[in-house]
Amino acid sequence: ITHTHTHTHTHTHTHTHTHFLGQDPYREDNTTAAELYSKVRILCWVMTGPSNLETKARHVQATWARHCNVALFMSSVRDDGFPTVGLDVKEGRDQLYWKTIRAFHYVHQHHLEQADWFLKADDDTFVVLDNLRWLLANHTPEAPVYFGKRFKPFVKQGYMSGGAGYVLSKEALRRFVEGFRTQVCTHTSPVEDLALGLCMEKMGVQAGDSRDTEGRETFHPFPPERHLMENLQRDYYYPTYSFYPILLGAQSCSDLSVSFHYVSPEEMYVLEYMSRHLRPYGYRPRYQPALTVWNRTEPRDG
């Protein structure tokens, strides 16, 4: 009969070594991340629904959504317990653009002053907020621009994948709402990301380049394993959609990746652990980009 140690110290026994509980073995300096948190404020809204609250949205709430300046969960039904905002739509794939329109209008009406950038994500999208802040630090929220995984068909300047998440500047959000007010933009189709992309183009909002300084993608429409291990140049659809040249293997994903899609609840925690907790002690990464905040360059960090 073998038994393994669980180290929860619920049973008493003598140790040959003492434990130092709760002490950090190394010093962490969060100054840069904290500064970015206050300078690059991001409101996240997560597209979800009543049947996904406990199975999916809950795990988003427990992981990356905590790092948004403001986090909102958008559903067809208001739920004060979770909490979710009720958008007064039905559920279903054909309602996705209605949900998006209503969600952005809600955010514009109630939260405009609380953030500089406005991110939309699904309840199976994983986002690294600190990396999104790094990406956006180089841009001003007064510029009409939005970022995400850029797709090329159907829209001249391209449009952003819905599942990989996309983020609008404050000015872009204003123009989106203005577009509906003036009927320049309408509910053209239920395909949320394409329809929004068409509206953005009409309203003069630029489709931004979200790649890192080495040309590697930061927003990803698939989980890490697919991008790192598959040759997506040979995929049936992906080359048709991908705006930028597809890089393979290690070059498919930036060190400072912002998002992944089709992430299971379990993998939410795994990615949270890998991006924010587990690290190789003392290791100097190969990629150490500078931080440029509105034309002010700071020494190498990250």
Binding site: E28, N30, V270, E272, R279, P280, G282, D301, G302
Partner: protein, 349 residues
């Protein structure tokens, strides 16, 4: 399974029960045929009796309730006070002073994982070599010409000691399903004197024997490896084949042999008491945490300075490589006491 180990005493011989000594060797061939069948019957009866007595004995002692006193050997990572206030020069010197030699035991059936280990974490060892049961066309390896895990382990440790005793002070043995973060291993070993007998990993208690579970990786200091090499020469205490009646797994046999030299297994933990050598994958540990403590999934499970995970398929190794060495949240800096640079000729780290 329950294992009964004869009482050990590191220096000299301890009394061992007669049934454990193995078959009688000196009988003449003609006599052996008639003697052997009664011998076998006797052995079986004795063996069954022994199992029975052991089972009763453990139940009487209330073994399952942990009410009795038993020694754990835990070993801690260095904490903040140990590592602050070092100059840059001291940091570099310190980093170079911990030299880790990696032994990965492989068989042809492990080819996918072998390739993955070669392409990923093993590049961060000061030196990594693959010890294989038989020769394989695709990869270079040190061929051991045996399929048996315990024999492979012995031969690998013997060779490693013979060749590298003056070049490395720590020896890390792993299976090809294991992923290791060598930088975290080095940090863990930072204040440990390799001339002391260390035998570290994820420990398991089996009766009176505490052993390091090979699935989580096994760390030996040069002193332990030296003692191990000596006890390998002792066919009574540390035989290559046979020995005890019940066939032990190789990680248990290692523990038995080391115990005879006075080397005991120690479980490795971080400053919060979390294991740093894991016999499961991140995904498995997370799944368990989601079921057992859903309010504190990440905080309550894996260590920030985890050294190993196990049970990884080749693809998972590559994803781990990305997750450990590349993917990170921008803006969090650390004042680490050690400095490790990326290895040459690599792009996935």
């Amino acid at each position: 399974e329950e294992v009964v180990i004869p009482p050990s005493s590191p220096g000299g011989g301890g009394a061992r029960p007669r049934w454990a000594r193995g078959p009688v060797r000196s009988a003449a061939p003609e006599k052996m045929i008639s003697e052997s069948s009664s011998f076998v019957k006797g052995m079986m009866l004795g063996g069954l009796f022994c199992v029975f007595v052991t089972f009763i004995g453990h139940n009487k002692m209330g073994h399952g309730t942990k009410a009795h006193h038993h020694e754990h050997h835990h070993i801690q990572a260095p904490n903040k006070e140990d590592v602050s206030n070092l100059s840059e020069g001291e940091r570099m010197e310190l980093s170079h002073s911990i030299r880790v030699y990696c032994i990965i035991l492989v068989k042809p059936k492990d080819l996918g994982n072998w390739a993955a280990v070669k392409e990923t974490w093993s590049k961060h060892c000061d030196k990594a070599e693959f010890y294989s049961s038989e020769s394989v066309k695709v990869f270079d390896s040190i061929v051991l010409n045996t399929n048996e895990m315990w024999v492979m382990m012995r031969k690998a440790y013997k060779l490693a000691y013979e060749r590298y005793q003056d070049e490395y002070n720590w020896f890390f043995l792993a299976h090809p399903t294991t992923f290791a973060v060598i930088e975290n291993l080095k940090y863990f070993l930072l204040k440990k004197d390799a001339s002391q007998p260390f035998y570290i990993g994820h420990t398991v208690k089996s009766g009176e024997l505490e052993y390091v579970d090979g699935d989580g990786g096994i760390v030996l200091s040069i002193e332990s490896l030296k003692r191990l090499s000596k006890i390998f020469e002792d066919p009574d205490r540390c035989p290559e084949q046979g020995g005890l009646i019940w066939k032990l797994s190789e990680d248990k046999q290692l523990a038995v042999c080391l115990k005879y030299t006075g080397v005991l297994a120690e479980n490795a933990e971080d400053s919060e008491g979390k294991d740093v050598f894991n016999t499961k994958s991140v995904g498995s540990l997370i799944k368990e945490a989601m079921a057992n403590h859903p309010q504190q999934v990440v905080e309550g499970s894996c260590s920030d300075m985890a050294i190993t995970f196990n049970g990884l398929a080749p693809n998972h190794m590559h994803v781990m490589m990305y997750g450990v060495y590349r993917l990170r949240a921008y803006g969090h800096n650390f004042k680490d006491a050690l400095v490790f640079l990326p290895p040459a000729g690599s792009d996935n780290d």
